[in-house]
């Protein structure tokens, strides 16, 4: 926009065109800058006139100051005389239009009109909504609320939703029936259907609060944490291998198990964040806090021969900064690695300031292809041993307390012993108690100390290792890297720092990862709570309030219900970052409880109005877990090294480097074949095919939203994969053993998978299949036996082969049907 090149006669024409537009514009509805204008400026103008503009002479349209600056006798926006604003002229200019005629993204007529209307209404600027800290607004009026505490919280959600429904002249959909609702809530909270007894209990409980009680049971089940953890592991790109080149094994699964515990224990999310980013920097960090720092170590790494360590020091850090952006800020920071962000107000310097928080961690930038890629620590290897370890700590503490009490009783022990006791560390006190010729040998403390010591030692022996974060004693220097090239540092060394548009760095906080965590969890942070709430909404309703959960920036979508998002974000914080509280609000809301049936009275295929309940295909892990659960195969063991269920042979070998220790897939045996899918071994360069077939990410980079595809190969997987055939057989065995007639067996099958009995049509279809298959397998017992030999779980030999095979075909089919694989 440097040259005014239009000629006078054309100007006249433009003016006439403008006059028409002015009329139209002035009649239009009020423009909301952040909602209506900023996305246009960002998408169509900022490429040249945005935050990344190198040329200081260039017009900037990303701030009012820039837009109103004097361009030599004219202004892009002239607040004194709006009609003279250059934007208006150039918008409609024939010979010198903006954006220029050859622009990759021209303006649409509608966008021109909006821009014109905006100028005519004053050309005011406002901050992008996501950069303004959320406040609680009153649902109807949109004004800030003072008294929401007194309002029943879950009905608040409905009030926000109802406001938009009312504007369309529609109401909520009717409630889903109770059984469907129980299934829905159980899937959303625990990733599995309700247990049959639980379902019956709920359906029989006609008293008020029955649903709330079901919710509490689900929230308190250990499956809750396992299910919720999955989403987090996608976001932080958890994997069991290094990810690059050899893609060797990496020992970090205790982190995964810690995430499960954190959710089950309802660790406040602010602490959940703080421990992960900076547990090692907390005073006297606990083992759990250190395990949590595995977050910092989650970046894919390499030890490729010839790779340059300094380059990977930077690549590892790019990955960490950009993952931080996705996970906590709901924003890509990637652009700012090489130049200031094109759209969002994030400068390249700010990117490298953020990077500086991570640039001083102690591990080598190359992983040495090592399982124990230091720094590591020794920790219990699964949930049971974790609990055992915690109990032991408690026993030790209690013993030492009692011993201290006993010692301080006058005359029990000599002065020397009392003194030695008080000068000893906890560790040494236990040793003292356990000393074979020691002063306590005759007390009952001695025996207990011996036992505890022995137990501690054997527990330690069974420890595994996990990667943790530590800082170097002297921080590394961080500078801006020209074009993101590791060998082109420029400018002064940078102090670690934050993105200014997202609030202040907390005063007094240290410039370390701990300070970074304090910034993220500070009450005024505009993004973190919103971003978390948005993803919690997404996993409950299937789609998020901001439909681009990975982008809250200028190019992202606006929230479907902005005030609802803000209200929930504030509520999350005010509740003490209480995840279970938030989920409780969501699943108890009327919005959640609506029937999932599509409505004839509205055209809203994406359910942006939330005028019906959630309806979507379940995730890969859930599909597998449901089958294992229904068939009774599911092994409840929690935690530990990733498990390797059936997988077609040769998949890893076909890709792997001969030197890789993950080139051979060694399938597990016994119960390990039947663990929950959360525990399936995650080789990043080749995850389990039944996971990727159903849209699981590779975990090489952050994923906060999985696609939900619908492909023919999924059909093949559902019907043919070994584990699915095996679970169908075990489910058939269960039906045959538990019930002695077809009707009841089908009832049980449908109750397990759909929480209801089959309809007449469904029943007829299943019976027909059963009949066809019975005839077939009676005629071909060999075929029946072949089918029943899939999978390692032993066959119940007391059952008739043909009948079991026929039922296996039925269960395999129903397990693959939308009755079983959808949330509704």
């Amino acid at each position: 926009m440097r040259i005014r090149s239009y000629t006078l006669p054309l100007f006249g024409l433009t003016a006439i065109l403008l006059a028409g537009n002015i009329l139209a514009a002035e009649q239009g509805p009020t423009i909301d800058f952040s909602r209506d204008i900023l996305p246009i400026l960002s998408d169509k103008c900022f490429v040249c006139h945005g935050p990344d503009t190198q040329d200081t002479e260039q017009l900037r349209l990303d701030s009012l100051a820039g837009a109103t600056s004097d361009r030599g006798g004219y202004q892009a926006i002239n607040p004194e005389a709006l009609e003279e604003s250059e934007i208006l002229v150039r918008l409609h200019s024939k010979d010198s239009p903006m954006p220029p005629q050859d622009a990759e993204k021209p303006l649409t007529a509608n966008e021109r009109e909006l821009l014109a209307r905006w100028i005519h209404q004053g050309g005011k600027y406002a901050t992008h909504w996501a950069f303004i800290p959320p406040v609680k607004h009153r649902p109807a009026s949109g004004t800030p609320a003072q008294d929401t505490q007194s309002t029943h919280s879950e009905s608040i959600i409905d009030t926000f939703v109802a406001t938009q429904l009312a504007a369309k002249g529609i109401n909520f959909a009717p409630s889903a029936d109770r059984a469907t609702l129980a299934r829905r809530a159980a899937f959303v909270l625990t990733g599995l259907p309700p247990e049959p007894e639980q379902l019956v209990g709920f359906l029989q409980d006609k008293t008020a609060g029955a649903y709330d009680r079901l919710i509490e049971e689900l929230l308190n089940h250990s499956r809750f944490g396992e299910h919720q953890a999955r989403y987090w592991l996608d976001a932080v790109r958890y994997g069991d291998t290094h990810g690059l080149h050899l893609d060797n094994r990496r020992g970090i699964f205790p982190y995964r198990d810690w995430v499960v515990r954190a959710f089950n224990d309802n660790l406040p999310l602010d602490q959940f964040i703080t421990w992960q980013l900076s547990g090692d920097l907390l005073p006297n960090p606990t083992m759990a806090q250190l395990i949590a720092t595995g977050y910092v170590r989650m970046n894919p790494s390499t030890a490729e021969g010839g790779a340059i360590p300094a380059e990977f020091q930077m690549k590892n850090n790019f990955d960490r900064v950009e993952t931080l952006g996705s996970v906590f800020l709901g924003m890509s920071l990637t652009c700012a690695r090489c130049h200031s962000h094109k759209y969002d107000p994030i400068s390249q310097t700010e990117y490298y300031r953020l990077l500086a928080f991570f640039n001083s961690t102690a591990e080598n930038s190359m992983d040495g292809n090592a399982y124990e890629y230091a720094p590591i620590m020794h920790v219990p290897q699964d949930q049971a041993s974790w609990t055992g370890w915690i109990d032991l700590q408690a026993a030790r503490k209690s013993l030492l307390t009692q011993a201290t009490d006993a010692i301080t009783v006058p005359d029990n022990f000599s002065e020397a012993i009392v003194q030695r006791w008080h000068q000893s560390s906890h560790e040494d006190r236990l040793k003292l108690l356990a000393e074979s010729a020691g002063p306590f040998v005759k007390t009952d403390f001695h025996e207990r100390a011996l036992e505890i010591t022995a137990n501690l030692n054997s527990a330690r022996k069974a420890f595994t290792t996990t990667l943790i974060a530590q800082d170097l004693p002297e921080p590394r220097t961080t500078q801006v890297l020209k074009r993101g090239e590791y060998n082109l540092p420029q400018g002064d060394p940078l102090e670690p720092g934050i993105v200014r548009v997202m609030g202040e760095f907390p005063s007094g906080a240290s410039r370390t990862r701990l300070g970074l965590a304090q910034w993220l969890t500070s009450p005024n942070h505009p993004l973190v709570a919103r971003v978390l709430v948005n993803r919690i909404w997404q996993r409950t309703f299937g789609d998020a309030l901001v439909r681009t959960p990975e982008d809250f920036g200028l190019q992202g979508e606006q929230p479907t219900h902005p005030h609802l998002l803000d209200w929930l974000a504030v509520e999350l914080r005010e509740s003490g970052w209480d995840l279970k509280h938030l989920l409780r609000l969501l699943v108890r809301s009327r919005t959640f409880r609506q029937s999932s049936a599509w409505r004839q009275d509205i055209d809203d295929p994406q359910n942006r109005l939330l005028a019906r309940g959630p309806h979507y295909r379940l995730d890969a892990e859930v599909l597998r877990d449901v089958g294992l659960w229904a068939s009774g195969l599911l092994d409840p063991h929690m935690g530990g090294e990733g498990v390797k269920p059936y997988q077609p042979s040769g998949l890893w070998f076909a890709l792997a480097h001969p030197g890789s220790n993950t080139k051979q897939y060694v399938q597990d045996e016994g119960n390990r074949l039947y663990r929950r899918s959360l525990y399936v071994y995650w080789k990043r360069t080749s995850p389990h095919p039944m996971m990727t077939l159903f849209d699981a990410p590779d975990r090489e980079s952050s994923c906060v939203r999985r696609s939900r595809t619908n492909t023919p190969l999924q059909s093949l997987g559902l019907l043919n994969e070994t584990q699915r055939v095996e679970m169908a057989r075990k489910l058939a065995e269960r039906l045959l053993r538990q019930v002695d007639h077809t009707t009841g067996r089908l009832d049980l099958l449908f109750t397990l998978l759909a929480c209801r009995n089959p309809s007449a049509t469904e029943r007829a279809a299943c019976e027909m299949l059963l009949k066809t298959m019975s005839v077939r397998f009676q005629e071909s017992p060999d075929a029946a036996l072949a089918l029943l030999s899939q999978g390692l779980a032993p066959r119940d030999e007391s059952l008739d082969i043909a009948e079991l095979a026929a039922w296996t075909q039925v269960t395999n089919t129903v397990l693959a049907s939308d009755i079983a694989i959808l949330l509704y």
Binding site: N710, L716, A765, L769, A805
Partner: protein, 499 residues
């Protein structure tokens, strides 16, 4: 024809319309848009997505590990005189080299190729081909040999990720996924994007799912592995004991169950899934039929070589590629590992060339005789080249070469490519891309500028897309606020190579 990119664009438009509905601008044109989509199914592949396509299908013969241009394509007689002498400083020009040779004791001794070259006639000035590629030499008149391909990455993982996804860091969609997204499918009974791993005696570098993965694109654009072991496509076969008639009975029941579900909930996805189940059923016939080579003539096997009868060989993969193209599959990649010759290059490359040479030539001849070469783009190349200097001990008979990103040779054929030409020059050491006088060009492409005579890997990818009717600047997908594309903000279409 099903076209995901157009569908996606429509979804965006639709979303924008719904978004704008709040402003009172209406949603009237949705039906119109849907109508347009229906029309796109009937489009001919040659119409292209953005402009008429020169090629309907692409077969990418990827030589993973980095084939040595010195020993295959770059005839540099002057290097012979320099045998064992240090590479002149000005040639290297301060370039960073990998940690494997940066500090080796014998420095950087010049390593001429031990192989004889002969000049083959083409439609240009002729092309020099090494004796390691006797069969490929016979199709010189079909090849467009580019000596000036280059990249910035010097290690396998970043380099192969770069050439296949446009970024050295994992997380982006692969070339194949972009093509799938842009091209859609012409045969719904076969996977739309097929990846094969050919056997090699020296499979020493790893491959990664990300090379045919979808990054942030929807997961249905991922490459489908067609394997020589077990099921050709994962989970294709019914469990033992289950016949196709049994499966039919299952699917009939399944359809009824899903229709019931649809009656109750009305989600169109359910109907789509019913169709996918049926398509899967058809694939159970069409894929085994595809993999059954018994209808191929002896003459064809002579063309491809005996190895084509052994599943999983490069030759069998090439023959399969032709069969796929015949059946309307548009997007095929064959990965052949083992080109990373750090130590015993002659032994390894001889074996590698034996794997691929005859089949490459056969594929071209075979497509040509059936009239399909014109609409099938074939690309042959690796992620980088190899060094002019020796890695490890140098003798006349044995040597090794390290990774070399500054220039390497890629060839293309068919599908709108100028046949029988060479493109680009290198200096006397095939170390730097040079002008026709041998003076180095040191290309540093920017968004606006491109150095004639050079082909950055982004340029290669832009050209592949162009030939298939796709504008690499317009095939975009918005993720995290950015309209991503395969070529990032780079890429120049190599018009000089296009017929």
């Amino acid at each position: 024809m099903h076209r995901p990119f157009q569908d996606h664009s429509l979804m965006l438009t639709r979303r924008q319309l719904f978004g704008r509905a709040a402003l009172g601008l209406g949603t009237a044109s949705i039906a119109h848009l849907m109508h347009d989509r229906a029309k796109s199914h009937e489009q001919d592949a040659s119409e292209g997505l953005h402009h008429p396509a020169k090629a309907k299908s692409v077969i990418y013969l990827f030589m993973s590990g980095g084939p040595s241009h010195h020993d295959l394509w770059s005839y540099k007689p002057k290097m012979t005189e320099m045998f064992g002498k240090q590479l002149p400083e000005h040639i290297r020009d301060g370039q960073r080299i990998t940690g494997m040779t940066a500090n080796q004791q014998n420095g950087l001794p010049v390593c001429p190729s031990k192989y004889k070259y002969t000049q083959q006639d083409n439609h240009d000035r002729g092309v020099w081909v090494s004796e390691l590629l006797p069969f490929t030499a016979t199709v010189a008149k079909e090849l467009c040999v580019v000596h000036s391909t280059f990249t910035e990455a010097i290690n396998h993982d970043p380099a192969i990720t770069y050439i296949q996804t446009g970024s050295q860091i994992p997380g982006r969609p692969s070339l194949g996924a972009w093509l799938s997204y842009g091209l859609g499918t012409m045969n719904e009974n076969l996977p739309h994007y097929v990846v094969m791993h050919a056997k090699s005696n020296h499979a020493e570098q790893s491959l990664f799912n990300r090379l045919w993965g979808t990054g942030f694109l929807s997961a249905d654009h991922q490459g489908i592995l067609m394997r020589s072991q077990g099921d050709p496509v994962l989970f294709l076969s019914n469990p033992s004991g289950v016949s196709q008639a049994d499966r039919r009975a299952q699917l009939d029941a399944l359809t009824t169950l899903n229709q019931e579900q649809h009656k109750q909930f009305g989600d169109p996805e359910i109907l789509a899934r019913i169709r996918q189940h049926e398509m899967a059923y058809r694939m159970q016939t069409s894929i085994p039929e595809l993999m059954d080579f018994s209808s191929e003539t002896e003459e064809t096997f002579e063309l491809y070589g005996e190895a084509a009868k052994t599943p999983g060989t490069f030759a069998a993969c090439c023959l399969n590629a032709r069969r796929l193209v015949e059946r309307g599959v548009r997007n095929i990649q064959i990965f052949h590992r083992g080109w990373d010759a750090h130590g015993s290059l002659p032994a390894e490359h001889e074996s590698q060339c034996k794997d691929v040479d005859q089949a490459c030539a056969a594929l071209i001849k075979d497509l040509k005789r059936s009239g399909m070469l014109d609409e099938t783009l074939i690309i042959w190349g690796g992620e980088f080249g190899r060094t002019a200097y020796c890695q490890g001990g140098l003798t006349k008979e044995n040597y090794g070469r390290d990774h070399h990103p500054r220039c390497f040779t890629t060839w293309m054929a068919g599908g709108g490519i100028k046949p029988g030409i060479t493109y680009g020059h290198t200096d006397d050491y095939a170390y730097n891309i040079a002008d026709e006088h041998g003076d180095p060009l040191f290309p540093q492409p920017t968004k606006e500028e491109w150095t004639p005579g050079t082909m950055h890997i982004h340029d290669l990818n832009a050209t592949i897309l162009h030939l298939l009717g796709i504008d690499h600047k317009r095939l975009t997908y918005r993720y995290q606020g950015r309209d991503f594309r395969l070529t990032d903000v780079h890429g120049h279409i190599m018009h000089d190579l296009i017929a």
